[in-house]
């Protein structure tokens, strides 16, 4: 599967999840967005040697994932790029920071190793939290949250249109690529002679499409803002969701949960 096909599949997965959830969620997208941002903020704020502290943050991911019936396999499929990036940035840590923090026989774990693993965990958890957010609220939910936060309506409209036409243009690009591959078998990408014409044609079609879209919007009474479906979250449940997760996450951040639980046994 090439990048274009994978991108189309990823969007379809999110859209299918969103379609299957319509009217079921009682939590407003804004509450979920706030909890996700808080979660990422607290995760990255852990000290670089606090491996146990960061480990405890997995609780949120597990509970949300299982409760919302989201595939962890799909979520884990997204962590490779961030794992590589965090690994590349943190690769120097074990070589520079060689102070031993734990030793058992000939096996020694240095602070540099711990900080590298911590960095990778921060990356994985942040990506998974964002994935859970988009899978639980969808792009329309994010857009409605942004409007509640007084983000300008023009920007939200741009975002919504971008999301709606992403799949169309990705499929169009994929069709063009397929046609090109059939005429140029064995070629890895677009040849230098066709660089401009290939993407340029797609751009011209996109601009023409935008003009048609605008005319259609005008015919349907567009007055500067696309009015999407209103989120169905219940106020009390949404506030309760945000407050309870804030308390739990703050507790995990402040208290050494893993050590406390371990000391009970």
């Amino acid at each position: 599967m090439n990048r274009l096909q994978k991108a189309v599949k990823d969007i379809h997965t999110v859209d299918a999840k969103e379609a299957g959830r319509k009217g079921q969620s009682k939590v407003h997208p804004l509450s979920r967005l706030a909890v996700t941002v808080l979660y990422i903020l607290l995760t990255v704020s852990f000290p670089k040697y606090d491996l146990g502290g960061i480990g405890a943050m997995v609780v949120y991911l597990l509970i949300t994932g299982i409760w919302e019936e989201i595939s962890f396999r799909e979520a884990l499929g997204r962590i490779w790029p961030v794992l590589l990036l965090a690994g590349a940035v943190g690769i120097a840590n074990p070589f520079v920071d060689r102070k031993v923090c734990w030793e058992s026989g000939s096996l020694a774990v240095t602070y540099g190793m711990v900080s590298m693993v911590t960095l990778m965990l921060k990356g994985i958890f942040s990506v998974m939290a964002s994935y859970l957010l988009i899978m639980t609220v969808g792009m329309e939910g994010i857009c409605s949250s942004l409007r509640v936060l007084h983000v300008p309506k023009e920007f939200v409209t741009i975002l919504l249109l971008m999301h709606r036409y992403l799949i169309v243009l990705l499929k169009e690009a994929e069709r063009m690529m397929q046609a090109y591959r059939l005429r140029a078998p064995g070629q890895k990408g677009i040849h230098v002679n066709a660089w401009g014409a290939f993407a340029g044609q797609l751009l011209l079609r996109s601009v023409d499409r935008a003009q048609t879209v605008y005319e259609s919007m005008l015919l349907r009474g567009y007055t500067g803002e696309i009015i999407g479906k209103r989120p169905v979250g219940k106020r009390g449940i949404s506030i309760g969701y945000a407050v309870s997760w804030t308390l739990v996450l703050a507790g995990i951040r402040i208290l050494p949960v893993f050590q406390m639980v371990g000391s009970l046994f």
Binding site: L4, V89, Y131, I134, F155, L159, L170, W195, L204, Y214
Partner: protein, 337 residues
């Protein structure tokens, strides 16, 4: 060059959110001032186009690897810097949410590193400068390559600073920079070439889509609002009014230099001794038509007015003559070449 959440400390993320938010507010204001609602769908669809186009692999000849186009530079070359910047924010937000490219916390950093430099520096510093006197294929190529390389270098340098400020890596600043900058120089060159190819195609097919394109061609690209003769006439009248009327209100107090000399030396007139000084003073007394901005041996205000007009005329005459002389020599030197 997308930064992940794990690479940014909350303080750095907050600071970069504030910077990017300010740029977004400015762009939004400018887009609203344009009052072109038909541009909003174009911005949305163009954002989707950039996303789709970045998924296409362009083969780099002789290397076996591939590259993709530079979104910020392309968007600002089509939509303008402000609209392009807003579209790029949308692209980065979708990338972070749907494809785990970047992160919610690092979004402020990514917007700054990729969208801000790509759109504002790329469009206002590079593109606008190159297209000042009209567009051509060569100019588009040069602006795209230079713009992509420069903005990517700036973005990569910002990534280094943000990562180090976050205290994430143990790598020293020098090593980090020496790894980041050359890699992004090569990437910038490839992205610039691909972007140039696309923009040249647009220039050939539908040039009116490009930002800053003037349908009247290179000659009409910067058509002055006022003709040459009218400009000269206005300048002459302005000089006459300034010299003739405003000079009546000339202060009798000493100017800044004279005042300073009075404070230091007690007098505004320098004491000069010697035959050379005396001779120069005599020549000046004899030849000066309007000594001390007035008729000789007269305190009449008409003298001040006349001196203003006369002085203005002399300055204009000298400037024009000087320009013509310089142009004459410039023309000769070009012919010799």
């Amino acid at each position: 060059m997308h930064m992940a959440d794990a690479l940014v400390a909350p303080v750095v993320a907050g600071t970069m959110y504030a910077c990017s938010g300010a740029a977004m507010g400015y762009s939004m204001k400018k887009v609203r001032l344009e009052n072109a609602p038909e541009k909003i769908p174009v911005m949305g669809v163009m954002g989707a186009f950039v996303f789709a186009a970045q998924m296409i692999n362009f083969t780099i000849p002789g290397t076996g690897s591939s590259g993709h186009l530079c979104g910020g530079m392309l968007l600002s070359a089509v939509l303008g810097p402000e609209a392009g910047f807003l579209s790029m924010i949308g692209v980065l937000l979708v990338q972070c949410l749907l494809f785990a490219d970047g992160g919610l916390l690092a979004l402020g950093c990514n917007v700054w590193n990729m969208a801000f430099y790509g759109c504002f520096v790329g469009a206002l510093v590079i593109w606008k400068h190159f297209m000042k006197k009209g567009m051509s294929r060569k100019k588009i190529m040069a602006a795209s390559v230079l713009g992509c390389m420069l903005t990517l270098q700036m973005g990569a340098f910002s990534v280094t600073l943000e990562t180090l400020a976050s205290g994430i890596t143990e790598l020293p600043f020098g090593i980090f920079v020496s790894v980041m900058q050359p890699i992004h120089l090569a990437i910038g060159l490839v992205e610039g070439l691909i972007t140039a190819a696309v923009l040249v195609f647009i220039y050939e097919a539908r040039p009116e889509l490009l930002w800053g394109y003037n349908a009247q061609g290179p000659e009409g690209a910067r058509k002055p609002k006022m003709s040459y003769k009218r400009t000269i006439a206005v300048l002459v009248i302005a000089a006459a009014v300034t010299g003739g009327l405003v000079s009546l209100a000339a202060s009798s107090h000493p100017d800044g230099l004279e005042w300073s000399m009075e404070q230091v030396a007690g007098t505004a007139e320098l004491e000069t001794e010697g035959s050379a000084y005396a001779l120069a003073g005599e020549i000046l007394e004899t030849t000066a038509i309007l000594p001390d901005y007035a008729w000789k041996s007269s305190e009449s205000p008409t003298g001040t007015t006349f001196s203003g007009i006369f002085g203005g005329a002399v300055v204009i005459l000298l400037s024009v003559t000087g320009c013509y002389i310089l142009r004459f020599f410039k023309g000769r030197s070009v012919k010799h070449e």
